[in-house]
């Protein structure tokens, strides 16, 4: 299986994420209510709805430009922690893409790694802090290992996805060091981090989209 993602494909993927997030209102809102301020779903949903509204403009762009624009849109629409974190991620990813018009699996890996680094830098955070990083980091690591091991595209993508899922679940027992959950007496232990959930949704959706097409 070979992977090719151009602006058109990426927009299709964005549409699927928007749907997935729209449908997760109660669960994600509740998670952020328990450990944070309850707005994470509203923030993410607003961001992806904005991307849908800008569809015409986005698909007409080169991939790198598109990522840059997505970053700006998310950053300014969403605000909050997730806005600036995803914003920084997409801006850095845009640089990694440069003027390429398509991503193959290697570029995808580099893009995801760039996003990870941008988030860790902006958030002054590491894996284990009970944040969205805990879904992205293991996903990226397992994708890299899979590619190094020479696994085929489909298998490598499954590794990416499973890394995100396992990482998301691992936040349940973590004590929060960043994000609003760290204000809780028990540091949010016992609850999955909402940012890790929506991060995981995005990665899952990407993998499912790529495997279907």
């Amino acid at each position: 299986m070979e992977i090719r993602i151009n602006s058109q494909n990426y927009m299709e993927y964005i549409e699927l994420v928007a749907k997935k997030i729209e449908a997760s209102k109660d669960y994600v809102s509740e998670l952020d209510s328990i450990t944070g301020d309850g707005d994470h779903w509203a923030n993410m949903n607003m961001g992806f709805q904005k991307l849908l509204e800008s569809k015409q403009e986005l698909v007409a762009m080169r991939l790198g430009q598109m990522f840059q624009k997505i970053g700006m849109l998310i950053m300014s629409t969403v605000g909050g922690s997730s806005g600036v974190l995803y914003g920084s991620a997409y801006l850095k990813a845009a640089k990694t893409i440069g003027d390429k018009t398509e991503m193959d699996i290697h570029l995808l890996r580099d893009v995801l790694e760039a996003e990870l680094n941008a988030i860790m830098e902006r958030g002054n955070a590491k894996p284990g802090y009970k944040t969205m990083i805990d879904a992205l980091y293991p996903a990226v690591i397992r994708l890299k290992e899979a590619i190094e091991k020479g696994l085929d595209g489909h298998e490598a993508l499954q590794e990416l996805k499973q890394g995100a899922i396992d990482g998301m679940n691992s936040t349940k027992d973590m004590e929060a060091i960043r994000g609003r959950a760290c204000y809780q007496a028990n540091k949010g232990v016992g609850h999955i981090d909402p940012g890790a959930v929506t991060m995981c949704y995005q990665i899952e959706t990407l993998v499912e989209y790529l495997c279907k097409s």
């Binding site: 209510s33 309850g38 974190l85 960043r178």
Partner: protein
Amino acid sequence: MKKIINNPNNVVTEMLQGIVKANPQLEYFSGVEVIAKRVKEKKVGLVSGGGSGHEPAHAGYVGKGMLDAAVAGNVFASPSPDRVLKGIQEANSGEGVLLIIKNYSGDIMNFDMAKELAEMEDIRVESVVVKDDVAVEDSTHSTGRRGIAGTVFVHKLAGAKATTGASLDEVKRVAEKAITNTRSMGMAMAPCILPGVGKAGFELGENQIEIGMGIHGEPGVQRTTVKTAVELAEILCEKILADYDFTGSEVGLMVNGLGATPLMELYILNNEIEKILMEKNIRVYRTFVGNYMTSLEMAGCSVTLLKLDDELKELLDAPCDTPAMKV
């Protein structure tokens, strides 16, 4: 959900429009959700901001003797860097700008990024981070303490200092002194509802209250049963006084309502707080009772103490004229 709103997605914009209609001395920059003084002064600019839902914070503190610009995020969501940048631009008169940030990672990330953008435009920007909420443990390891109602004192004192024509470094020094000297503690009796979510972020039983609840409904340190005003005053003061030694000093006191708590109750609480402080040999120099840093329609309150010295007393008493605070 019973709210006087139209589309939940437009609450911030419509609110800011309503503010400038009521306060024509203020200007509203739509899209970036910035409120700034119409008539600029040549002085260090002061910018604050954060998620909406804390009204009158932050736009209510823009005016003579306090802020030059306030930047509004969506409800409970930090404003994005481009918005903060606009606030900085409006506040800048060439003397540099001080950002007053509350200690939430969202705010810090967005304001930091805006600072980087402003510096690329050759605007000198400094920032201070308010962390007055003793409900949260102070920590260098994690994000640490939240900024809550004590922020209003920082606006007031730094604002008064900037109005004297002091340099950016001097204004920042005063803001940091205010932060060092300020401690707050709050509690909630009923939750608030995010307009975009439509239901309460947490639930409290018929007779439950939560001590140490944050101003975004972040969980507190203890759930307990309804208390009398005497008991509440004791609980809130105890936490504050255990954290910082105010004995023998003069203080600024703020008894702040979270949005749905009537003034009657805040005054009753103030009565008890002042009794306790008197006993502890802490002299209240000036008191503010009202809704200064709210949390939508949350019921509850917070108490803030600010240790004063001669410099801070003068700055606290300096005139200011903003929608939400006039001295």
